[in-house]
Amino acid sequence: MVENRPWLTLLSHAVLIAGVATVAFPLYVTFVVSTLTLDQVLEVPMRMIPGDQLLHNYRQVLAAGSTRGSAAPVGAMLMNSLVMALVIAAGKIVVSIIASFAIVYFRFPLRRFCFWMIFVTLMLPVEVRIIPTFKVAADLKLLDSYAGLTLPLIASATATFLFRQFFLTIPEELAEAARIDGAGPLRFFRDVVLPLSSTTVAALFVIQFIYGWNQYLWPLLVTSQESMYTVVMGIKRMIVGGDATNEWPLIMATAMLAMLPPAAVVLLMQKWFVKGLVEAEK
């Protein structure tokens, strides 16, 4: 702090507390609704203190979904989301780290071309090529499968850049020493590059896990069987009509369950997360 201005400090805290409260308000309401009965939710104004239906609501959605909308059990959806998020995160990291290793540590014809091909994918988000991508997935018989949920999302320009950026900072002497000692590229990769990259891997893992978990449009397109729903799209299937016809306590219990895993990852790995986020954009 440059100078002592107690009133300004007080104002800062007031603004921050108001901001934090506004940001947290939807979460609190969601939690409260997930502990009430439907009748309690439909009372206007709704009570703002948690009720006693917590166990009942969560048990209901985990085992049997909602009763009026989709009856797919949320437990299975959470499993699907977890598989999807983990495979996408791990897949992106593996595929990108070896690709950047090739680009940085080898000279070969078409090197620049390969790099640009990966780069250009940044300009082709799934939203702009919805129908043809769906067709490709259908032709390859990937619909309603984990492969269909994950494989098309595994290429990553961002991760490739981040690894390339990092590899360029690894001292030349290390590669030189490895070569003098007679280590081949794969040995160098395993014994030197991989251990050095652990921080970058951790940071990317957090970002990509959240990316995978929060996918919405793609699962919506490639899954039609309830057994393959992910939780983020499953919530939408529980919303069937107007305000009063939805089973809000069950929907909000599902929303809580959909938010918890990625939020836990962000909060527990905050250091890596911040690092990964800020550096991925450099």
Partner: protein, 293 residues
């Protein structure tokens, strides 16, 4: 920047690049090329045959008032999301940078919405603002506001903007905090010694020095508003009422998946691709500048 020391192998680099390139070719380039190809085709009413019609799909598209409207909707939506998100985040970040006590706690409490899926954010805010039972609706009605986003277009727009901004605040705050920390303390101290108050210091020193961050976030937020908010819109207004929140991306999805208009939807895809290419070029031009800065 290239490495001096490299390894020699004829096949290894290709093998290492193969997985990434295979996914890229099959799921990015091939579909994108098909979208381009479809955009020149017209299907008959039964979807049995199609013929080459040149630029006719594009001509139809740009004469379609609904399409031009969705351009307007997208422009309004992304302006509000970007401006709103940046303004709120800058305020919070500057305040969090000022306080000594609890700065990390505030950051932690502001960061978690990053983890919330846009679709879930839509469900949450849609419920808070629900026309008959929403708690915010109740407060608004008490205050004399006739709130019903299911019928009123501008209220629906406000709802999706609020939900989208809420989700993006965490991202913006983190970048502003990083930007604020990189401003040399000595500059601010010198200004304070010269008698500049906190407000003046902000506008003459902090804000100009933050401009690279602000501009970067502007681009990122516009891209976010374009593409990542599909979930927010699909979970709340689904483009309605009367297409008041139908953004370009939502219309591509709606025309292609729900209305099965292959040619029209593909032409829209191609227009969107051009927009993304434009945005990416702006983004990277700027990144180069920032490196020199």
């Amino acid at each position: 920047m290239d490495k001096r020391v490299v390894f020699g192998s004829r096949w290894l680099p290709y093998a290492l690049l193969a997985p990434q390139l295979a996914v890229t070719l099959v799921f990015f380039f091939w579909p994108a090329a098909q979208a381009l190809w479809y955009s020149f085709l017209l299907q008959d009413a039964f979807g049995l045959s199609s013929r080459f019609v040149g630029l006719q799909n594009f001509a139809v598209l740009f004469r379609d008032p609904h399409y031009l409207d969705s351009f307007k909707v997208t422009a309004v939506f992304s302006t509000l999301v970007a401006a709103g998100g940046i303004a709120v985040s800058l305020l919070l970040a500057v305040m969090a940078d000022r306080v000594v006590r609890g700065a990390l706690i505030y950051r932690t409490l502001l960061v978690w919405p990053y983890a919330v899926a846009p679709a879930v954010a839509g469900v949450l805010w849609g419920f808070l603002f629900a026309p008959s039972i929403g708690i915010v609706t109740y407060v608004l009605k008490k205050a004399g506001v006739d709130w019903n986003w299911v019928i009123q277009g501008d209220q629906a727009m406000l709802l999706v903007v609020i939900a989208s901004v809420w989700k993006q605040i965490s991202y913006n705050v983190l970048f502003f905090l990083a930007g604020l920390q990189s401003i040399p303390r000595s500059l601010i101290e010198a200004a304070a010694i010269d008698g500049a108050g906190p407000v003046r210091r902000f506008w003459t020193i902090v804000f100009p020095l933050l401009s690279p961050t602000t501009f970067f976030l502007l681009v990122v937020n516009v891209v976010y508003a374009f593409f990542d908010t599909f979930g927010v819109i699909d979970a709340t207004t689904q483009g309605g009422p009367a297409a008041a929140t139908q953004t370009l991306v939502y219309k591509v999805y709606y025309d292609g998946v729900k209305a099965a208009d292959l040619g029209g939807s593909s032409a829209q895809s191609v227009v969107l691709m051009l927009l993304v290419i434009g945005l990416t070029v702006i983004q990277f031009r700027f990144v180069e500048k920032r490196v020199q800065y």
